[in-house]
Amino acid sequence: MRNVSIELKIIIGIILFTLFIVSAERYLLSDSIVNQFIQSKKSKNNLLIDTISPIVALNISLGLNNANQEYLNQIVKQNDDLEFLELKDSNQKTIYTYVKKSTLKLERGEGDIKFCSKKIVDSILNENLGFIYLYFSDKELQEIHKKNLKTTFLIFFITFILLFIFIFIIKREFRDMVNLSNDVLNYDPKLNNLKLKTCTRKDEIGVIHSAIMSMVRRISSYSKELDEINHSLENKVKKRTNELEIANKRLQELSITDPLTQIYNRRYFEQHLKKIWDIGQRNNIDISIVMCDIDYFKQVNDTYGHTIGDIVLKNVAFIMQSSIKRSGDFVARYGGEEFIIVMYDAKIDGAMKLCTAIQSSLKNSETFESQGEKIRPITLSFGISGAIPSPNNSPEQLVKSADSALYKAKLYGRDCIIVEE
């Protein structure tokens, strides 16, 4: 029921209500008219028979039979609806008969308005003088029924015409509402495309129209404000996002960079090695690892202090980073004074060359100094391992091999390159 439009509900409601009222009124009125007619007819019939009977009685009692005949003929003439009149004496012998139609059927009619009979009594002697029977036509009643029917049809016809006019008016009234609804539905505050005509109506629709106009103006104003706020917010968000991205990048760098030497840390090394290991395994490409350690670094720390130790570490890291020429290779601080180089698509020879180049760069670099005092030359020990990644080996084994080679290099006197086969 809630899905049915109010317009339809109003129209159906009014139609049903009107038809009910008109039908009830017609029924009650027709019924009342017919009842009143029946009562009046009965009353008239009774009045007639009450008028006739004493005169007839007197005439009979006076022996004025001709007068009775004459009188009854006169009665018959005066009453068009009288179809049958019979006067019988006390022995049921017919004294007078009048029959309007020979084919008359003497049947009891509606509300007993057709038949009327009375005993004729001599009012003075109280003797039964006979009976009088009257039979009336119900033509008038039928006429009333016909007239009622005709009036009912006319009233219903007028009612239907009025209802159609009413429906037309309601439809027209609601058309403004529907147009208003469509305009409101199509309204886009950003486009500000509501084209409402000025409404001159003062009724409820006019009030709604004014309210919507006012609302649209406010929405338009709020929409502008909201756009400005949104724009400002967007800029702020952009700025914040940019800052966040920078911070994230910085964080990421920090998380993978050694803070002292500014080269990759061990965590990045492990992640990166795993990645290139998988790539190498798919493409059957050689991967070499160079592990190196600063020789006698503990003595440098003990002798010149940790600050100098840190400078040494920085310089070594810089030299190593500078020595790497290929974009796929990278160096990371593995821990303490240990560094590690990962070389993608490089065999042992390539790694040897890199180590030699690092050694050369280190020797050719300026002498390290601490508070004007020269530090003895720094040397590096290298351990190299290489392999083509396969299910039979692992990056851990490769690192272990390189570590083993470095250990051997330390054993053989340092400042040398050992390859683990």
């Binding site: 004025l64 007068a67 003075i124 002697l125």
Partner: protein, 189 residues
């Protein structure tokens, strides 16, 4: 004794009537009309203000000329035959007398007049009016002389009422009677 006397008179008059040519006059009284009169007589008393004068019995006086004595008796018989038990618990006393003995009718509530000469009729009317008695005549022509009621005999037979005389004598008639009657308004009627 009275009954014997009446029967004797009746027999005597019958013989006289048969012998007398003038007795043909009496034959003009119609038996049916007399029968109607016999029915009307007591009812007019009961259905008029004259009924207030009734003490015990309804008194009707029948005036006749000697020639109509038999018809008068015949009328008496008819009244008795039609009202054997009287009317409304009242016995009906019928007194027949000649015009010359009209004074006998002083207690009557109704005086019925057979035909007579004008003088007799006028005397009877004057006497009856003095007594406030209802007057009725066989001949409707006597209404002209002031008789109050008669019968109109035309295509139908109707009571014929001289309304002027009735009003003059301050007599009131029942509406029903007036409805079935013809009203006499004058000579030209």
């Amino acid at each position: 004794m009275v009954k014997f006397k009446q029967n004797f008179i009746r027999l005597f008059l019958s013989i006289v009537l048969m012998l007398n040519v003038s007795a043909l006059h009496a034959l003009s009284y119609d038996d049916d009309i007399l029968n109607i009169y016999s029915k009307i007589l007591p009812r007019f008393i009961i259905m008029s203000s004259i009924k207030e004068k009734i003490k015990d019995n309804v008194e009707i006086c029948i005036l006749y000329d000697d020639i109509d004595a038999l018809v008068a008796l015949s009328l008496v018989d008819k009244v008795k035959s039609n009202y054997p038990k009287g009317i409304k618990k009242h016995k009906i006393n019928l007194l027949t007398t000649t015009y010359s003995n009209i004074t006998k009718c002083e207690n009557a509530q109704l005086v019925f007049m057979f035909n007579s000469n004008e003088k007799n009729i006028n005397n009877a009317v004057v006497f009856s009016n003095k007594q406030s008695t209802l007057t009725m005549s066989y001949d409707a022509a006597l209404l002209e002389n002031g008789v109050e009621i008669s019968l109109f005999i035309g295509r139908k037979v109707l009571p014929y009422i001289n309304m002027g005389a009735i009003i003059n004598n301050k007599i009131e008639l029942d509406n029903l009677l007036l409805r079935i009657s013809k009203i006499y308004t004058g000579k030209d009627n």
